[in-house]
């Protein structure tokens, strides 16, 4: 029993994956991998919610697990945070096996749920003190840490406010503070910006950035607002329980191309036929087609005239992670063809 598990762990730690995903010298510079998952899978009856994913997240890394609702993000987080048992495969988090050492894993991680984990009836400070007690933090240490975090998140004035009276953005910030109170080595954030308005969303990302800067905590975040993940060091795209692409956001975007050309038209098929020889196969949505443009010096002058009445609008813009994801879902962009 112990030997195969040991071998699996060894295999997972040693299998570093393709060179662009993981630079070994950096991976081991600060103690190696914070999260390592191999063949991680979860079935619900016949549904394969998570289907054999591999993850290697370096210590200190900011990692984004991206995908639409239902792609398996939360189930993956649950397996990594010991709230669900993998159907097969496994993972180590902060050096501990999620199956065999769940309590040790939980001691070293923080998880911020989509929904608030605060007691609405208790004040911000009471909530954080309660959380500190759950982690067996000595009272003095917890108090100092709470002061520090309330400062970091600009929440000092809300110290004695019941959690139920906080705005959505503030409550989420307290939730994040709660998640890092015990100085976890890995912080899991499951859709941290869900339900927040743009201002609070930006504020939350700034808090997370500050936290990473000051505490050097490894962060694994899931989000379906893909553009928000541009700040991540590494991202992996999930679709139907499988990882369909991964890499550094800027690298993925660069690999994707220089521009996205969106052509709005009542006849998307005609547009595709017209351009595919020159621009490659387009990606059709309801009433538009987008093309990947590789050349940095591309110009749309002339294209519009060429197509005259068949074009309603034409739009050239820089790609973002949404484009990368859409193209990956539709077969990738390694070559021109699908």
């Amino acid at each position: 029993m112990a030997l195969p598990a040991l071998l699996r762990t060894a295999r997972a730690v040693l299998s570093l994956g393709p060179a662009e995903q993981l630079r070994p010298e950096k991976a081991f510079a600060r103690g190696g991998l914070a999260v390592s998952a191999w063949d991680l899978s979860k079935n619900f009856g016949k549904l394969k919610a998570v289907d054999g994913i591999e993850l290697q997240i370096r210590e200190g890394e900011f990692f984004g697990l991206l995908g639409p609702n239902g792609s398996g993000k939360t189930t993956t987080i649950h397996m990594l945070t010991t709230l669900a048992r993998p159907t097969h495969g496994g993972a180590t988090v902060a050096g501990c096996d999620v199956r065999a050492q769940p309590v040790s894993v939980r001691r070293q991680i923080g998880l911020v749920f989509q929904e608030s984990a605060l007691d609405r009836n208790l004040t911000v400070e009471e909530n954080l003190r309660f959380a500190g007690a759950l982690y067996k933090m000595p009272a003095g240490l917890a108090r100092a840490r709470i002061d520090e975090l309330l400062q970091l998140f600009n929440l000092d004035a809300k110290r004695r406010t019941p959690a139920g009276e906080l705005s959505g953005g503030m409550r989420r910030a307290v939730d994040v503070a709660r998640g890092v109170l015990h100085r976890p080595r890995v912080l899991f954030l499951d859709e941290p910006t869900l339900g927040l308005d743009p201002v609070n969303r930006r504020a939350l990302w700034q808090f997370i950035a500050r936290l990473r800067r000051e505490e050097r905590v490894t962060v694994l975040v899931t989000t379906h607002y893909l553009e928000e993940a541009a700040a991540c060091d590494q991202v992996a795209f999930l679709n139907a329980g499988r990882i369909i692409g991964r890499g550094a956001p800027e690298h993925l975007i660069k690999q994707f191309g220089a521009y996205v050309l969106e052509v709005e038209s009542p006849d998307p098929d005609g547009i595709t036929a017209h351009f595919s020889a020159r621009l490659g196969v387009g990606l059709k949505t309801d009433a538009s087609v987008s093309f990947r443009i590789a050349e940095e010096h591309f110009s749309i002058a002339g294209l519009e005239a060429e197509l005259d009445s068949r074009v309603r609008a034409m739009h050239l813009r820089r790609p973002d992670l949404n484009d990368v994801y859409l193209w990956l879902i539709h077969g990738g962009f390694g070559g021109r063809e699908r």
Binding site: H78, F113, E115, A117, L118, A133, K136
Partner: protein, 268 residues
């Protein structure tokens, strides 16, 4: 483990004390029984020459407060929709079965707080005069509260259908209460009901409290079982219930749906 355990219990007690209306209604319920059913039955029974029915009802009502207080407190555990604290608890660095144990202890204490208040009220109203064995009363309340809390905890981890208050009232609390000897002596029941009452752990709690409050020879309204049998019945049931609940709560089939529900119920 003491620090987290105490933090959970402290929070629960703080909450109980802050909820004044719940405490008041917990007191009103038994007093209403005492002053309506108690007085009514006593008037009827006096015609037949039977003894003081209200004095008979007192231990049953003390047990009733524990049934409502402790059992509902532990029942609300798993599907406590108002508070996100369960999210904190399932991520805390101890075995998940401790959550069940902590909830069981705090529910026991919630029941005891309410029972103690009722004891004071009943004392002031003169229902606990003479013939009371204080140590036995304390032991009886503690043991009964532990048992009621354990029933609640067992139900909470066993089924999701019972998170509705009306369902719990009809299918758990009322049958358990009516078939316990709280309202009438078990020994005068027809055999099949007597059998049901004797497998109902709550019966032993009520009986133990009868031993504590109804003293002296009282052939008609006296206790039905011996003190030893009562304690043994309560202890055995409670130990099994807490153990089963703790084991069940650590199982994937209970924990994983709960974790998914806590993460927004979509299960993805």
């Amino acid at each position: 483990m003491w620090r987290p355990l105490w933090a959970i219990i402290e929070r629960e007690l703080k909450w109980t004390v802050r909820q004044r209306s719940r405490l008041v209604s917990a007191m009103v319920r038994p007093l209403l029984w005492l002053l309506t059913v108690g007085v009514g039955f006593e008037a009827m029974l006096r015609e037949t020459g039977a003894a003081n029915y209200r004095a008979f009802l007192v231990p049953g009502l003390l047990a009733m407060v524990l049934l409502f207080g402790a059992m509902l407190a532990s029942l609300s555990m798993v599907y406590d929709r108002e508070s996100g604290v369960l999210r904190m608890l399932i991520m805390a660095p101890f075995a998940h079965s401790w959550i069940v144990v902590a909830r069981w202890i705090s529910a026991t204490l919630v029941g005891l707080v309410q029972a103690a208040m009722l004891v004071v009220l009943l004392g002031v109203m003169g229902y606990l005069n003479g013939g009371i064995s204080a140590p036995l009363l304390a032991v009886g309340l503690l043991a009964t509260s532990m048992t009621c809390a354990s029933v609640g905890i067992l139900i909470a981890v066993s089924t999701r259908a019972l998170d509705n208050f009306a369902v719990v009232m009809n299918f758990v609390i009322f049958p358990v209460f009516f078939l316990s000897g709280a309202l009438y002596p078990v020994r005068h029941l027809p055999p099949w009901l007597r059998l049901v009452a004797s497998v109902n752990p709550f019966s032993y709690g009520v009986d133990l409290l009868k031993h504590a409050t109804i003293r002296g020879p009282a052939p008609f309204f006296g206790a039905d079982f011996g003190i030893g049998a009562d304690l043994l019945g309560l202890a055995a049931f409670t130990a099994v219930a807490v153990l089963v609940a703790a084991i069940r709560f650590s199982q994937d089939s209970v924990l994983e749906p709960l974790a998914r529900w806590l993460s927004n119920g979509r299960g993805n």
